[in-house]
């Protein structure tokens, strides 16, 4: 096994083009654990952390570009980012422990392809866009378009993510992420929800997006749930409709972590609670 520190993104693409079992390394909090557990080692590990700019958070057109090697801890310490997208940051900060936070990245969380990845529903709700670099050059792709199946993404051969963009948003906006785990930390989401809302001056929801995690092969956008919230102040009836839409969107598995019945019910509960938090963050009073 060889370990290569890539100098720039071009080198990453070139290395990925070679016919070898390559593995990209960002924080390594999935990569290293998996290598140890499965005892399967790639031919080559390509570390992307030293690519210029990739470990930085930069302001761009009122939003923020998060480099692919930015750690959860870095995001948590960035007060403007936190003010703009508190839900995304709280989702990233839920990943692992303090130690894991020092390394784990949002891009790695996405590319690991877990249906239960915490930052993904929050990114979906935020309509985050990934910057992808590959043999064909650079392109911007919605995070949603990259979701594929457990353990894989739609990234093509020799493509990788250099950054993720969280867009600008109006004043009366807020987002939130909530997950259900049987403990209080160090666990995997059994069902989770990211919600982003924009309100008008009267406190009525004018834009909404709702995404769920851990209840289908990938995180899912639930437009029915978003629709249920638009035009309301999150009264009981729209929340109930939101929960029902979430339940309908679930196609979870029955496993040791939770039954189908449980996941379906709890996904709606998480969505409604996240919606209420997002609403309050947007300045609304439910």
């Amino acid at each position: 096994m060889r370990y290569v520190v890539a100098k720039d993104s071009r080198e990453v693409v070139d290395l990925l083009m070679e016919d070898k079992a390559n593995l990209l390394l960002a924080g390594g909090t999935d990569v290293l654990v998996r290598m140890r557990l499965d005892e399967r080692y790639p031919d080559r590990i390509i570390d992307i952390k030293k690519i210029p700019g990739v470990a930085e958070i930069t302001e761009e057109s009122g939003g923020f570009r998060i480099g692919a090697a930015v750690s959860g801890a870095q995001m948590g310490e960035h007060s403007q980012l936190k003010a703009l997208w508190p839900g995304v940051v709280e989702a990233v900060e839920l990943i692992g422990s303090t130690q894991v936070q020092g390394r784990a990245t949002m891009a790695g969380n996405l590319c690991n392809g877990s249906p239960a990845a915490d930052s993904v529903p929050a990114m979906l709700a935020a309509q985050a866009v990934a910057r992808v670099e590959g043999p064909e050059g650079v392109s911007d792709q919605p995070v949603l378009a990259l979701l594929d199946a457990p353990g894989q993404t739609k990234l093509g051969k020799a493509e990788f993510i250099t950054s993720i963009f969280l867009p600008a948003r109006p004043n009366l906006a807020g987002d939130a992420y909530l997950r259900f785990i049987p403990r209080t930390e160090m666990d995997i989401a059994v069902a989770s929800a990211g919600v982003s809302l924009v309100l008008d001056e009267a406190g009525i929801v004018i834009e909404a997006s709702v995404a769920l995690g851990a209840v289908a092969p990938t995180a899912v956008m639930v437009s029915g749930a978003a629709q249920a919230l638009i035009g309301t102040r999150l009264e009981a009836a729209p929340l109930q409709a939101c929960a029902a839409a979430c339940a309908a969107a679930c196609s979870p598995i029955d496993d040791k972590r939770g039954t189908i019945e449980f996941r379906t019910k709890v996904a709606g509960v998480m969505a409604c609670r996240a919606a209420i938090t997002a609403y309050q963050r947007a300045g609304g009073q439910p």
Partner: protein, 738 residues
Amino acid sequence: MSKQEFKILGTRPIRPDGLDKVTGKAMFGADKSATGMLHARILRSPHAHAEIISIDTSKAKALPGVKAVITGADFDDVENRWTRYTMQNCMAQGRALYDGHAIAAVAATSKKIAGAALKLIEVEYKILPHVTDVDEAMQPGAPLLHEGVKARKLGDDVSGNTVGYYSFGHGDVDAGFAKADEVIERRFKTAATHQGYIEPQACLADLGADGRGALWCTTQGHYMVRETCAEILGIDASQLRVTASEIGGGFGGKTTVFIEPVALKLSQKSGRPVKLVMSREEVFRATGPTMSASMDVKIGMGKDGKITAGHARLRYQGGAFPYNMVMMGAMSAFACYDLENVQSEGWDVMTNRPKMISYRAPGAPMAVYGVESVIDELCQKLGLDPIEVRLLNAAKEGTKSSYGPRFKAIGLVEALKAAKAHPHYSAPLPANTGRGVACGFWFNFGGQVSVSMAINTDGTVNLIEGNPDIGGSRASISMMAAEALGIPFERIRTIVGDTASVGFSDVTDGSRVTFAVGIATINAAKAAIRELCKRAAMIWEIDEDAVEWVDGTARPTGHNAGDFPPMSLAEIAATSGKTGGPIAGHHEGAPDKAGVSFGVHLVDLEVDPETGFTSIKRYTAFQDVGKAIHPAYVEGQIQGGAVQGIGWALNEEYIYGADGRLQNPGFLDYRIPVASDLPMIDAVIIEVPNPGHPYGVRGCGETAIVPPLAAVANGVAQAVGVRLFELPMSPPKILKAL
């Protein structure tokens, strides 16, 4: 027994093993290496039950770097059947009896090569029907684990997997139920739980062709390891020197061997030292968890809260080999109460699961969970205060216990009264919150013990004992030695000697060490004091019995009183070379008056009605410990037991698929509580001295895991108004019940 005054006991000196542990200097099981050492790995069965048709190790042996490969065929039969079970659990012979059962082992120059070699071993299995559930395993016609081991008293209504039957009690339970105003009978199920020690089993073995060997391992009893391994390997116990490493948790799980005979055999075969360290997955699949249980509990109560009769039927599943632990459950079930009519029966059952081993108060938590749940339900139904009812029925000095003997001085009533008076019990309860109460009991043991104490010429003391320190015993033992000798704690260093350094000692279990080693230490100190007095007499040229020992000094007494200034231990020791040589004391014995211990736990918990998530809000544990030698350690024991019990109640379980394979062999899906899951556990120490110990010590390590299962279940029942009869009460189960 009147309260004694102590100088050192009851204080909280800094733990002597603390610095090494926090700086990483302490040597645990996996920390030792040797020149020329090989690394071993074990191939494990992927099947719950299978005949091993053939094992072809030729390709593995041919792999460069591989120095030895062994299978069950490398072990000769042993005479003692219990040792044979242990051996066959370490390495299968003929049949794989559970998912994870060891089939073969390799020693190679690196862990990686050993791992590659495992993949080259070809095993042909014939898959057999399996059973992992206790009730199914008891059914006649169930897949049989072993022939000819069925408990003799049992009939055809149970299968040959039923290896033990016990019954305890007195009075006439039917007559008692007839007198009751209310009778409730419930069926309960509890999952198998693992001790969850953080340090996996690990050892370094070195056994020469001459039958001389050394073994370093993480264990709760290195003499037990020595004797078991010597028997399995066919060598003399004297030739195998076993050293216990620092231990990263045991909780009963390290009271047997799982890997040591394998490492020794590989070392013998390769002629090299062999290191064997289990992975976490192996720990879950192949070491012993505790039993799972299926139980029927029936209790009758009068309107006044008096229990008229109690009957418990306990069916425990203990894995793939005969065992006998349900007895402890049957004995403990009703031990908290003074009952006229009581019976508890227990059945030990084998299944295709890893062989059980002790886990903190083995057998008691589940039985008591059943009993304390039914009592709680009766209290609810009759509108009675749960502590008042328990006080009305509580066992006290003189009570004929449900398992036979009469209790000496015990502290259940004191613990219940303390709980009742505690601000926790009267604090207001918010919505969706419930308060659970439960009692618990544990026997505590004495057992064989050896202590050797040397007085150094600078006035310091070295003490060697033979019990691995799993809960702070080195501190407590030094404190008792200091108290007995009358010198400062800091002057004493206690170490755990290896099997060649000090006499035999039983395993560290049964909360016995502070009690038993304590007695041996006090007696060793007395022996040393006799010698110190003799030397002083010699120096003063007076009669030996004209010297007494007061506050760490020898003083002339009787008609010599005041003739000479007192001589300190240090002064006498300084000249010991001229007065007859080194001064020492030792004691060997088997103290048997360990006092039983009772606890009462109070828990406030909140259940999220939309997710079934339970959060523990407040927890107070009251326990009679006789005498708390080092109260901080005692509180730690009480807190630790409570936490393990909370995990058992809420989330911990061995999950088996229909294929009989364990689905959650890791800490991600085997959920022990994490720190943020818990409030500070408030430990309230009650001291009703044990008349069987000079300082009043009772064991305190195990009782605290007994009450929490029922305390949490009773709290949940109160919070949500629905009672669950199965543990763990994980969120999906609670939500379903709502």
